[in-house]
């Protein structure tokens, strides 16, 4: 059978495209190499506790907000979403000082200014008005989220001023206050805060959606994937797991089929790859290809963001109260932004603490996740090893790093150690091997405001019926991937 659309990779972007195109009446086949779909949304079970891989919370899901519009169209609003506290969805800690991120643009600035005063910091009128200007920017970006999707041409997208402006410089010139700039970056684990590269758009679009509203999903992120997969199959689509695409077969400047093992092929009229663009290109033979070498080189030479070290803690029942907010632990406001490529050591690096929503509105949580950015060169010496067989030195490295993370979190959650039933850790190597991200990168291709044209990618490729989707193109995160899926689906639909 020749499908209208063959989708490589059953992560969020692939599933969303599959759903949207199946809904338009096209025959869709999704091919996923893992046993389960979801990519970074996958759950895993240890000691009877269910943990998330890369999903922790989403923004902008309340009525009228951007993700609500997309998830409503995808039929995902019926999942058991739990809104985080509106007066504090993220609590940012610097050396013991606590700052609350609150929902609503006005409430957001008022709460931060209140907490600055409470912590003994005087914010002058100029910085106060700068903070309000920043909140207005978030509002504008939040309200115009979908306008950017109309700019399908890469030239227009790259020329988009929000992409080609540096956020750090904007904050410096607008707010004039290092403390506030540090605090605003304090929930930094949502993205990589590289002062020299991060575009205004990436920072503002993501923060805007969380200031609108913030939500966890009771039972884990994989429900998003299983729900979409079931709906796609309900519309007659195919979702094939444990099948790895080993080659994209090209003929006369078009993709013709995907090879799924020796001599077996799935044919399609159009193809979407949800894989990293560099991995997608590695599936296409160089010989007689209409893809220019310079296209391959420019895609493959792009840098990727940091990865994550994750500590998943299975907790004894009834011991740790559930907090309906995230906690971000930072050393100092001046160590939040990465400057000059310097990396903080594990004692000073920012941490995120996420609480799993308890079942049945119980007051205690069963699981806590601690996340810390980790760079590829910190684990690359084990890059040749395979899952569960990386050796004693690696296990020792993970155990010591987890110990540091737990000790640092204990400063704010006393006696945490005594409540732990099981500790499970993962590094960028784990992410690489389970989700197929290059170097275990958490957010894919690093966007660079000064090179927007090269680091913001189009869904189109030199093969006229091969398209890209996923976190690497425009914006990472659930909202970013969903917006990109809308864009990719519209282009694919238009190609028929």
């Amino acid at each position: 059978m020749k499908y209208d659309v063959v989708i490589i990779g059953g992560g969020l972007g692939g599933l969303e495209c599959g759903y949207m195109l199946a809904k338009k009446g096209l025959s869709v086949c999704i091919v996923e190499k893992n046993a389960r779909t979801g990519g970074c949304l996958q759950n895993f079970t240890r000691n009877g506790h269910i943990f998330d891989t890369g999903f922790h919370y989403v923004g902008g899901l309340a009525e009228g907000q951007p993700l609500n519009k997309i998830f409503s169209a995808l039929g995902l609003l019926d999942l058991p979403w739990k809104q985080l506290d509106t007066d504090c969805f993220d609590e940012v800690i610097f050396n013991g000082e606590r700052y609350r991120f609150a929902n609503g643009y006005d409430n957001f600035t008022e709460t931060l200014l209140h907490d600055c005063e409470k912590n003994g910091h005087t914010i002058n009128a100029k910085a106060q008005s700068g903070l309000k200007e920043y909140a207005n920017l978030l509002k504008e970006i939040g309200e115009t989220t979908f306008d950017r999707l109309n700019k399908k041409s890469l030239e227009h997208l790259a020329a988009e001023s929000y992409f080609s402006k540096p956020i750090y410089q904007y904050l410096k010139e607008t707010i004039y206050n290092e403390l506030l700039i540090g605090i605003l970056g304090g929930t930094s684990l949502k993205m990589e805060l590289e002062e020299k590269t991060l575009p205004l758009y990436t920072f503002s679009q993501i923060n805007s959606s969380f200031v609108q509203s913030a939500w966890r999903l009771r039972g884990g992120g994989e429900q998003i994937a299983t729900t979409l997969a079931a709906k796609i199959e309900g519309m007659g689509g195919k979702v094939l797991t444990r099948l790895e695409v080993t080659r994209i077969v090209e003929k006369d400047g078009k993709a013709e089929a995907v090879e799924i093992g020796a001599g077996e092929y799935i044919e399609g009229k159009a193809f979407i790859s949800n894989l990293h663009p560099a991995l997608t290109l590695s599936l296409i033979n160089r010989e007689n290809s209409s893809i220019k070498n310079i296209f391959r080189r420019r895609i493959c030479n792009l840098e990727n963001t940091f990865g994550m070290f994750t500590v998943n803690l299975a907790l004894k029942a009834g011991r740790v109260p559930y907090l309906n907010r995230n906690i971000f632990i930072n050393k100092n406001t001046d160590t939040v932004w990465n400057k000059n490529g310097e990396r903080e050591n594990f004692e000073n690096r920012s941490l995120m603490v996420s609480f799993q929503v308890p079942e049945n509105e119980a007051v205690h949580t069963d699981n806590i996740d601690i996340l810390m950015p980790m760079y590829w060169n910190e684990v690359s010496k084990w890059e040749g090893t395979k899952l569960f067989r990386r050796g004693e030195e690696y296990e020792d490295f993970k155990a010591k790093t987890a110990e540091i993370c737990i000790r640092r979190v204990e400063e704010y959650l006393p006696d945490l150690k005594g409540t732990i039933e099981g500790t499970f850790t993962s590094t960028p190597l784990t992410y690489r091997d389970y989700t197929g991200t290059i170097n275990g990168s958490a957010y894919g291709i690093r966007k660079d405001y000064s090179r927007a044209m090269l680091t913001v990618l189009s869904p189109t490729t030199p093969l006229q019926n091969l398209f890209l989707t996923g976190q690497n193109l425009n914006l990472h995160g659930i909202l970013g991937v969903s917006m990109t899926a809308l864009m990719t689906s519209a282009i694919v639909e238009g190609s028929f």
Binding site: A159, R297, R298, M453
Partner: protein, 83 residues
Amino acid sequence: MNREELIAKTNEVLAEEFEVAIEDITPDADIKSTLELDSLSLVDMVALIEETFNVEIKGQDISKIKNFDALYDFILAKINGEK
């Protein structure tokens, strides 16, 4: 690198990568039509120039450059400015 050397190098890499006859690349010729660039391959050209001459090009710069003569001027200014 003087202007003649720069022109020769630019024409050589563009002709090879975009598979056009080097004689078709003349100072007054329109870049997009000569190299048959679409929005995707325009970015390839930017990447190729960046790679060949070790310069950085911004989106707004490239949108102003229409013919090869302007491209040579632009690269030369970049090389000299960044030394």
